[in-house]
């Protein structure tokens, strides 16, 4: 192998086809599939959260009503159960919210949908490249039409790689720990300090 054959239309066409098939289309499919999956995941979690929050509201109301009734054996059991549910259900709703925050679907949906749209736009650059109609000049002189097409191929590939790079950088900047867990960590540390102080002050 000695030198580049970029001036050969067949060579250029094959490299373009390889890039398009092995990377560009695959990347676009990836962005679209991931956006769709994350959208579904987000909706599923939203339903779970709503269900937990709704249960918490209904059971709290029910518990308040029961607590005003005269206590019997069965009623006491039901009251304990409903009190427990009214404590656990809001925590479950918060749990689902934190779960969604860990996987950051909302941000990723935005990043991937945006990248897929930009790749669609990049496709427009490549749409009019008709390499089949191009042949090198027999006398070896530069073929202006081929040069123009070559520049278009480069623009297309650069655009696709640019979209990928931008998406990568956006993704890197978007990765964050969920705020609720950060807050929990701060609160837990504060509480631990408080417990240590209490421990020291006890006789």
């Amino acid at each position: 192998m000695s030198e580049s054959h970029d001036s050969d239309p067949q060579n250029l066409k094959t490299r373009l086809l390889l890039f398009e098939t092995a990377l560009a289309k695959d990347q676009k499919s990836y962005y679209k599939s991931k956006s769709e999956i994350y959208r579904n995941a987000q909706q599923q979690i939203l339903w779970f959260r709503l269900l937990a929050a709704f249960t918490a509201s209904v059971v709290s109301f029910f518990t308040a009503y029961l607590s005003n009734l005269p206590r019997t054996g069965v009623l006491t059991t039901v009251l304990v159960a409903s009190s427990l549910i009214s404590v656990i259900a809001p925590a479950v709703a918060a749990l689902f919210q934190t779960y969604a925050d860990i996987f950051q679907w909302d941000r990723l949906i935005h990043i991937y949908s945006d990248a897929a749209n930009k790749l669609d736009a990049a496709d427009k650059i490549s749409r009019e490249i008709d390499l089949a109609a191009l042949v090198p000049n027999a006398d070896g002189a530069e073929n202006p039409a081929l040069t123009k097409r070559h520049a278009r191929v480069n623009r297309y590939i650069s655009a696709v790689l640019g979209v990928m790079r931008a998406e990568a950088n956006q993704w890197g900047q978007s990765v964050h720990a969920p705020a609720s867990l950060e807050e929990f960590e701060a609160r837990a540390k504060q509480r631990a300090e408080q417990l240590k102080k209490e421990d020291k002050t006890e006789p």
């Binding site: 054959h5 390889l18 695959d26 918060a94 860990i102 790079r165 631990a192």
Partner: protein, 224 residues
């Protein structure tokens, strides 16, 4: 553009494989057992079937020319990419395990707090409040003394992002080389292009800014 399509790509093959259907989408990214993630030796930047199909109808000289680039890029990049990709997936997996652990503790702590509140209204069982309060205190102390120091989530997250970005930068470099994009288009000799690829891979792995046509860019790229 080109109208020959040897392998219509409906589902991405290039990165994390996606299983069929969308049911239980929220559980798809649930972490794997630690130690399960290893470099995928069946992963190729260009699917061999796609490569064969694209090169099927081309003349011998073009085929040899492209295969020389693909073979060299595979030799230089593929193994390093697989390692970086696997490391990124491992760190991502660890990060999610740790976050889910902290999430579970936060849940437990919230429930214990709520139960304590309930227990204050229960005059018949005064010991219950003491037990719940002691349990909650124990959970907090164990979390602060053991879990947080040994589960440094920020370091794991940085390592995940770092490895993912290096892996994606390598993948982009692979296609830049194979398609003769800048700066490779300015280097007609194959051996010079080989040297240039080696230099740029080193820059990516050493986290140095990569110079493309006098414009500095930072290497980067995710997909996890």
């Amino acid at each position: 553009m080109t109208n020959t399509n040897p392998s219509a790509v409906d589902t991405p093959k290039n990165q994390n494989p996606l299983t069929e259907g969308n049911g239980w989408a929220w559980l798809r990214d649930w972490p794997k057992r630690p130690g399960q993630i290893k470099p995928d030796q069946n992963y190729f930047m260009i699917d061999p079937a796609v490569l064969r199909a694209v090169l099927a109808g081309v003349d011998e000289s073009t085929r040899k020319d492209i295969m020389a680039d693909v073979d060299f890029a595979d030799k230089e990049i593929l193994e390093t990419f697989r390692e970086r990709d696997a490391e990124a997936k491992k760190q991502q997996n660890t990060y999610r395990i740790l976050q889910l652990l902290v999430m579970s503790i936060a849940f437990l702590s919230t429930v214990l707090g709520g139960l304590q509140l309930l227990a204050t209204t229960d005059a018949e069982h005064p010991a219950l409040l003491t037990v719940l309060s002691a349990t909650e205190g124990l959970v907090v102390l164990i979390t602060v003394i053991i879990v947080f120091p040994f589960a440094d989530r920020n370091t794991v997250m940085s390592s995940w992002v770092h490895n993912r970005q290096r892996a994606e930068a390598l993948r982009q470099e692979y296609f830049r080389f194979v398609t003769h994009q800048e700066p490779y288009d300015l280097v007609p000799e194959f051996t010079d292009r080989q040297d240039l690829l080696g230099d740029r891979i080193a820059q990516i792995l050493l986290d140095q800014p990569i110079v493309v046509n006098a414009v500095q860019t930072t290497s980067g790229g995710p997909n996890s």
